[in-house]
Structures are given as structure tokens and as C-alpha cells.
């Protein structure tokens, strides 16, 4: 799914007007894996929420394969994953996936069974367990399986691994890449971790502090698996870090 954003602005009225995004223009071709980084409060989450039709923009337009966010949402083509796995505690591991499959069944042609989705994230032995018996990393893996079964053209991910420890985070990031590979949906992934962004994404977009604007846009052409000790990785890391620092300083 391709994403076209034109002159997008968003102002929160709290009740003082608080501009979150200002005149944002962005084109993302179908199937691109994009990481969005920026200082906290730069409107990264607001951008995702606007695309998910959880918010209505103050001005400007968003088109997802030519559709409005509401139309794409009605077609169940936009999948959502945030920091909280948002599992239903009264359903088993299997039950959580089965509910997603059931509620999405009318719109999508499902090739994937509940068991297959669980196998993809390595949770098949835990099918009958309840979410509260799982670790934080396993809970987020379950949320990934649920995302996978939606078979959506666009994945919106708002710091999905931010609450996890570093080792688990790296494992889940690799898993995310593996899950993305076969169908290659478009991914918009908000993170505050530069390493993570450079290890996974094909493109890294740096936003300035609120009101958020794009201050840098990097193409990452490094081959997978990416190694942090390579010189080109380190060069890019330095460039992104500089851009991020400038974005922070610009608003101080």
C-alpha cells in the first residue's frame, strides 16, 4: 500500500492550540519499511494516529492507495500495533488470534490458520495458555501474530518494543523483519532507537520537535543481516544521530 501525505498539519486544542504537525509532505512507495525517529513529543504518534484514522487532521490530506484513512480502515487494510500488546486477558493465546481472525473474516481471504500464525512467532506450544502467564516479550510476539493474520497492506507500529529489555527487543526486531519479508506490506515504524531503525528499515525519516516536520530522510541500502561493526553502518549511524541532534537543538 502506498502512502501519500500532502501538506498535513495537525493542531490539538487543549484548549490552547498546540501544533503537533506542520505542513508535512511524505511519499512512501508500496512495500517500503520506514522507521520514523524524532525527539519525544515531535508528533510521531500523532502522524500514525492520523493515518490509522484514530484522529482527523486539521488540514492536509492522507491517501492510502488513493483511499482516505477511514476508507482504508473500513477495508481493514491498516494494521495497528502499539507499545501495549492490548491482549484480551480473558482469552487464551489461541483465543486472542482466533478472535482477530473471526472479526476480520468477512473482509479478508485468509490463507493463514491460527496455528500457523502462532508457529510463525514460535508460540504454538503456548496455544492454551493465558496472556498473563506469558513474559512481556512473548505477549508482544502474540500481538505480532495477531498483526500478521490481519494480512493488511500497511502496518502502523508505535514503539512496539519500547517497554521490553534490550535482548528481547533485538530478538523481536529480527522476528518483525522475518514476518515482513514474505508479503512485504508497507511499514511505518515509530521508534526512538537509532540502532533499531538502522538495523531494520530501508528508510529512516527524522522528525523535528513539535510542530513536527521532516528534517532528514535517509535511504538505507545496507544488505541484511546488518552488522553494527561495519564502517558504512557506523557512518550512517553518525549521520542520523547528527540529524536527530539538530532536530532537538532547533527547538530548544
Amino acid at each position: 500500500m502506498k502512502v501519500e501525505i500532502t501538506a498535513l498539519s495537525h493542531i490539538f486544542f487543549t484548549p490552547q492550540p498546540l501544533p503537533a504537525l506542520q505542513n508535512l509532505n511524505l511519499y512512501i512507495p508500496s512495500g517500503q519499511f520506514v522507521a520514523i525517529i524524532g525527539p519525544s513529543g515531535c508528533g510521531k504518534s500523532t502522524l500514525l494516529r492520523l493515518i490509522a484514522s484514530l484522529l482527523q487532521p486539521t488540514s492536509g490530506s492522507i491517501r492510502l492507495d488513493g483511499k482516505t484513512p477511514a476508507e482504508a480502515n473500513a477495508a481493514r487494510q491498516v494494521a495497528w500495533l502499539a507499545q501495549s500488546p492490548a491482549l484480551l486477558p480473558w482469552l487464551t493465546v489461541e483465543g486472542n488470534i482466533a478472535l482477530a481472525r473471526k472479526l476480520l473474516a468477512t473482509q479478508l481471504n485468509h490463507q493463514m490458520s491460527v496455528r500457523q500464525a502462532l508457529a510463525r512467532v514460535g508460540l504454538e506450544q503456548f496455544a492454551g495458555a493465558y496472556p498473563f502467564t506469558l513474559s512481556g516479550g512473548m505477549q508482544q510476539r502474540l500481538a505480532l501474530a495477531r498483526l500478521l493474520i490481519q494480512n493488511a497492506g500497511l502496518w502502523l507500529m508505535d514503539e512496539p518494543f519500547a517497554a521490553l529489555d534490550e535482548i528481547t527487543r533485538e530478538q523481536l526486531a529480527s522476528m518483525l523483519l522475518d514476518l515482513w519479508q514474505p508479503a512485504q506490506p508497507t511499514v511505518l515504524w515509530v521508534t526512538h532507537n537509532i540502532y533499531e531503525a538502522l538495523r531494520l528499515a530501508e528508510r529512516v525519516i527524522v522528525l523535528s520537535s513539535a510542530p513536527g516536520q521532516i528534517v532528514a530522510d535517509f535511504r538505507i541500502d545496507l544488505p541484511h543481516p546488518r552488522r553494527e561493526d561495519r564502517a558504512d553502518f557506523q557512518d550512517l549511524l553518525g549521520e542520523v544521530r547528527t540529524a536527530l541532534n539538530q532536530a532537538v537543538e532547533a527547538t530548544v
Binding site: 484514530l54 502499539a82 501495549s84 492490548a86 484480551l88 480473558w90 472479526l103 473482509q107 493465558y130 490481519q150
Partner: protein, 254 residues
């Protein structure tokens, strides 16, 4: 904290026993006349001497309490569901419910007896009226207070209002329903007894009223003992049921 390593239940039994023994001792040592305060032993003897009377009265009162609780429960849950699906009605209906709730029970009870007679129907209605409000208020907040992350997830699935209700709001309200039951179950007994007090042909309330007008305090206290025990049993039953149904509650939410 707990040098004798007693369980919560053992401590509760211990406290009640100490209380009853102190009561017994006070009555005997201070020679309090029986028309002011009978000793627990005297009350228990009254119970044992009139098993049929108390069994019959208890059965009737419990039946009324259960029927009233069931109706109050169903009405509370149904109205809460209706207000969640049609939020525009909330203010109007809640105002009416609060008006009904603030009207003193002792004022409505005799009216219902006048209109509906001395049978069990007015008792069941009063109990229902009394138990309905905690259920309505609790279940309504359970249905409304859904986690924003869950709502975002259901939004991303483009779930209908009915699907959100069935798969998210309803199970989310279950712990609130049990919180309401813990309040309403003991209230049901009070409702039934107060209703009987205002005019009935049987039941514990009737026994208490007769004992009261004759200043027969052992009879009165025997009924109170039964009510206290029944209230406790109902509460424990609710807690046990809650543990079976809400198995995910004692754990932090994912």
C-alpha cells in the same frame, strides 16, 4: 504480624468466638435482664427449640431475597447494556434511577404492601429495587471503562459497535458485576426483611416484628443471627464464584 500462623478464615472464626464469649460473660456478670439483651447461649437455645419456625421463615425470606436479587441483577445489567449501546439515554435514565434510589425504602415498602397485598410479590419488588442500583452503576462503568489500547485495536479491525460490546465491553464488565454483587447480595436480605416488617404473613421479618412487639428479645436476636449468617454465606459464595469466573483479575493486565 501474625505470630500464630493462622489463616484468614481461622482468624475470622476466632474473632467471632471471642466476641460471643465476651457478650456472654458481660450479660452474666452484669446480670443484664433478658428483655434488654439476651446472652448468646439463650439465643442459640431459642433457635434450637423452634427449628420448624425458623426454617420456614428463613426459607421464605431467602427465596424472596434470591428472587429480588435476580430481578435487580437482570434489570441492572440490561439497563447498563442499553445505556452503553444508546449513550444518549444515559443522563435521563440515570436521573430516574437516582430518584428511585434516593426515595426511602421505608416509604415505598408500605405502599407496595397496600397495592400488592401481604404476599411475596411486594417483598421481591423491594429487594429488586434495592439491589438494582449498585448493579446498574457498577456494570455501567465496567462497560464504559475499556482500555484505550483495546479500543484502538478494535478500531483497527473496523469492529462494529456490537462486536466491541460482545468481545470487549461485556467481558471487561464482569469484575465490576461481581463487585456489585458483593454489595447487592447482603442488601437483598435487608430488602426482604424490611419489606416483611411492613406487613407480611411469614418470613424472618415477620418473626422479628412479632418478637419486637412482644419484647421477646431472644426470638428477635435468633432471627438476627440467622440473617447475619446468611449474609456472610452469600458474600462468601459471591467471592468464590468471582474467583472461578474472573480468573485473570488477580494478575496484572498485559
Amino acid at each position: 504480624m501474625n505470630p500464630f500462623r493462622l489463616s484468614g478464615g481461622q482468624i475470622a472464626v476466632l474473632i467471632v468466638t471471642v466476641f460471643l464469649l465476651a457478650w456472654e460473660a458481660a450479660v452474666r456478670l452484669l446480670t443484664i435482664p433478658v428483655y434488654l439483651l439476651p446472652a448468646p447461649s439463650r439465643i442459640l437455645r431459642t433457635l434450637i427449640e423452634h427449628p420448624a419456625l425458623y426454617a420456614q421463615a428463613s426459607l421464605l425470606t431467602l427465596a424472596e431475597a434470591f428472587a429480588g436479587l435476580l430481578i435487580g441483577l437482570l434489570a441492572g445489567v440490561m439497563i447498563a447494556a442499553l445505556l452503553t449501546l444508546l449513550p444518549g439515554l444515559e443522563e435521563g435514565v440515570m436521573t430516574l434511577a437516582i430518584l428511585l434510589k434516593s426515595t426511602p425504602l421505608v416509604a415505598i415498602a408500605p405502599l407496595l404492601t397496600i397495592w400488592l397485598g401481604f404476599g411475596i410479590l411486594p417483598k421481591i419488588l423491594i429487594t429488586a429495587l434495592l439491589t438494582f442500583f449498585p448493579v446498574l452503576v457498577n456494570v455501567l462503568s465496567g462497560l464504559q471503562k475499556t482500555d484505550s489500547h483495546h479500543l484502538e485495536l478494535f478500531h483497527s479491525w473496523h469492529a462494529s459497535r456490537r462486536e466491541v460490546f460482545r468481545h470487549l465491553r461485556a467481558p471487561n464488565a464482569l469484575p465490576y458485576l461481581f463487585a456489585a454483587l458483593k454489595i447487592s447480595a447482603p442488601l437483598a436480605l435487608i430488602g426482604a426483611v424490611v419489606a416483611e416488617w411492613t406487613g407480611a404473613s411469614g418470613g424472618l421479618g415477620r418473626v422479628m416484628w412479632l418478637a419486637y412487639t412482644n419484647l421477646n428479645l431472644p426470638f428477635l436476636f435468633a432471627a438476627i443471627f440467622i440473617l447475619a449468617a446468611a449474609g456472610m454465606a452469600l458474600y462468601r459464595l459471591t467471592v468464590w464464584l468471582e474467583r472461578q469466573v474472573i480468573f485473570w483479575q488477580s494478575h496484572p493486565e498485559p
